[in-house]
């Protein structure tokens, strides 16, 4: 149905460079094909070129893209306007900002009908409500009259899907449609895309950096790196027998592991019936309810949940940032250190790395010489070299910055590190490197971690035990295998349904 042959995309300009090299990809009717790769691999550029959304003045295309036998690359802009929204529809990563904030949902869903059909106002309204219903939104008549800001992210993505399928297109291009959504919502959107594809015999080109998601949804998958398709084939084959080295590193990230920790070690942290509160003026809002758990020496304990469920509040109570709590927090003389999601904004941009790493020791009153000594020792540990010391945070890459953040936490020789989404802002390969570093530090130094994440693939890969948190309560905890294979709570089951595919 769609056939990309020998596609080459070159950015025009003084230093014209090729971003897509000789790409070949075919999609059959009703088939779901994934493109997986990290940011900068060219996956989005390739998808935009299919939809004709690249600026023709800036990007030169060679090769061929055939849609049902029609050559798309030779289409004029006006011809493309008739194809987009009718034969090819798209959904994007950020559902809320992809919708016009000032236009009613219904009118946005109808837009493609207004452009491509002769339906009158009443018929369009009916079709839009039908589309809203088919994306499983309850009360579509009510949703029709709403504005985007009145809906949740998951609902907005459903609206985007409704607007995309309202004209029954041949091809849906979905560019990271679940990346910005919470885990439990992700799974719903994925199964919705699958259902719509079957119902409308619609082909789907699904772009993602997340192998777990690709594996759950796609019939076939193409792996992209630096503008090349390095490998493609049936999803199952790719996962079971990855041929290319790069694919193997990607797959390794989400494979089974069996090095779980034995459980009879001393605890380094113990929380018992902790209730925590935030004060906002006269209001005191409870954020944690009866939270109890312990972390043992050399253990990585995962903490999973949707945004706003109390994950970060737990971290704040442990590190002593949030003093307003009841219950007991036993730290066994350990001073937990924190590593945050975004190292750039959590490191002072005007200081160099050497200053930043020495800071905790300076406060502790350590002499200049032994401060230097400690910093030098720690550098090798986290895979940085002395040349990095004089740079400022902005002059390092994301992965290097996170290494600095880990070094800054390690320099006080803590027994416990609280890592709040430490790899969520990083690319897949860099993620792997940082996770490997954390595992290595655990083995060599006997460190314990509380590892907060919403990414179940990451949790599965490095944690020994995992806790599921919802609305300020820990609803389930146990070993990773227990939780992933025999989830008890229905919420955990929904989470694990995604992760189950990963295994």
């Amino acid at each position: 149905m769609l056939e990309i042959k020998g596609l080459k995309l070159t950015f025009q300009g003084s230093s014209g460079f090729e971003v897509i090299h000789n790409m070949n990809l075919a999609i059959e009717e009703g088939e779901i094909v994934g493109i997986v790769g990290e940011s900068g691999s060219g996956k989005t550029t390739a998808a935009l070129s299919v939809a004709g959304l690249l600026d023709r003045r800036k990007v030169q295309a060679e090769g061929s893209i055939l849609l049902d036998g029609m050559e798309l690359l030779s289409c004029s802009e006006t011809e493309y306007q008739k194809i987009r929204g009718r034969s090819i529809s798209m959904v994007f990563q950020e559902p809320l900002s992809s919708l016009d904030p000032l236009m009613k949902i219904g009118h946005q869903v109808e837009e493609a009908l207004k452009l491509h059909t002769n339906l009158n106002r009443k018929q369009r309204r009916q079709a839009a409500i039908g589309a809203l219903r088919s994306v499983e939104l309850s009360d579509p008549e009510l949703i029709y009259e709403k504005y985007p800001h009145e809906l949740s992210g998951g609902m907005c993505q459903r609206v985007m899907l409704a607007a995309a399928i309202v004209t029954h297109p041949r091809l849906l291009i979905a560019d990271e449609p679940t990346t910005a959504l919470d885990v439990s919502v992700q799974a719903q959107i994925l199964s919705l895309i699958r259902r719509l594809s079957q119902e409308y015999r619609m082909s789907v080109l699904f772009i993602s950096h997340d192998l777990g998601v690709i594996r759950m949804l796609c019939d076939r998958v193409a792996v992209m790196r630096d503008g090349y398709v390095v490998e493609q084939g049936r999803t199952q084959d790719i996962f079971e027998h990855p041929a290319h080295a790069y694919t193997r590193t990607l797959v390794a990230k989400i494979q089974k592991r069996n090095d779980f920790l034995e459980t009879d070690r001393d605890p380094v942290l113990k929380l018992e019936k902790v209730n925590a509160f935030y004060r906002n003026g006269r209001n005191r809002r409870q954020a944690l309810y009866d939270v109890s758990f312990e972390i043992r020496r050399g253990e990585i304990l995962g903490l999973v949940g949707e945004s706003g469920c109390g994950k970060s509040t737990t971290a704040k109570v442990i590190t002593g940032i949030l003093p307003d709590y009841t219950g007991t927090v036993e730290r066994y003389g350990v001073r937990p250190q924190m590593v945050f999601q975004d190292p750039l904004s959590s490191l002072n941009p005007s200081k160099n790395i050497s200053w930043l790493l020495e800071e905790p020791l300076r406060i502790a009153g350590v002499s200049k010489l032994s401060r230097r000594e400690s910093v030098r020792n720690i550098l090798g540990r986290v895979g940085l070299s002395e040349e990095h010391l004089r740079r400022r945070p902005a002059e390092l890459s994301g992965g290097q910055r996170q290494r600095v953040a880990i070094a800054a936490a390690l320099i006080q020789r803590p027994a416990l590190i609280v890592a709040d989404e430490p790899v969520s802002a990083l690319d897949v390969t860099i993620q792997t490197q940082i996770l490997d570093l954390m595992l290595e530090l655990k083995r060599e130094l006997g460190l314990s971690y509380l590892f907060i994440s919403h990414d179940l693939g990451v949790i599965y890969r490095i944690c020994d035990r995992v806790m599921i948190m919802r609305e300020g309560r820990i609803i389930e905890q146990g070993s990773v295998l227990e939780i992933y294979q025999h989830p008890k709570e229905s919420y955990t089951k929904r989470l694990a349904s995604l992760a189950g595919e990963i295994q």
Partner: protein, 318 residues
Amino acid sequence: MRYFLKKIISLIITLLLVSFLAFLTFQLISGDPVTQMLGTEYTEEMAAHLRAQLGLDDPFPIRYFRWLGGFITGDFGTSYSYNVPVSSLLSDKLPVTGLLSAFSFVLLVSISIPLGIWLAAHEDSIPDKIFTALNQIAMSIPPFFLGIMMTLVFGLMLHLFVPGNYISYQENFGASLAYLLFPAIAIAIPKIAMTVKLFKSSLHAEYRRDYVRTALSRGSTRRRILYSHVLRNAIIPVVTFLALTIPEIVAGSIIIEQVFTVPGLGRLLVSSILNRDYPVVCAIVMLIAALVILMNFLADILYRIIDPRIRIDQEASK
């Protein structure tokens, strides 16, 4: 509804504060209206008598509340120097300034909105480059200087109008407008420059938003994207800006009236300040303050109509 009630109450409180400050200011600055009124030859007795007659002997709070009471009931007091009710003075001059300001505002909106749209659509074209270069200059020219230049060029050299020969709007509305065109342009030009600059950058910012890509992916034309999506989003900051320029335009009119000898509030205000004619000055200050507050209020309502997100915010904060 409750929002509007709250808003109106805060409007009234603001106006009361302004009235107090205005009244207080003229008590503090030097100069005595009585000596101004009596001229050079007077006796202390005459002055004392007049002072008592005008009620200037009473303590400050009493004078303030008497004035305020009159103001609320529509009695703005009597002018010291003209000896006629302030309201009749104002009703004479106000329409002239109002006409000039309104004319200038209409020019501002009807030129800057289409110009902004056109220039944003033709980014980096030659007209766009010329405009960008001229813009900085236009923004920094004070209207009175522009007015003097226009009098010189269009009045004295090209004879398009006769400087100083203002025709009353009651006499001949068309001719009156024709004369006011020049001062109106002088006031509007710097504002047009600012509005276009703001509007252009707002349009550019909106064009880069995700929803534009979505609209493109549905097959919308550039034209449709502009008129059904981008324009509405981009105009929001411009609406605030325009509402805030209205009081500035009125203030600009007051100054420019001097240049073009238009008999509006401006000349009355200047002579009243020099003569320490407080009732007149206070009334004009109150008028302008009320206008500023009213325009802010109007901008707020307009916002609510354009942007559904603000409607919700208010309901949530109730």
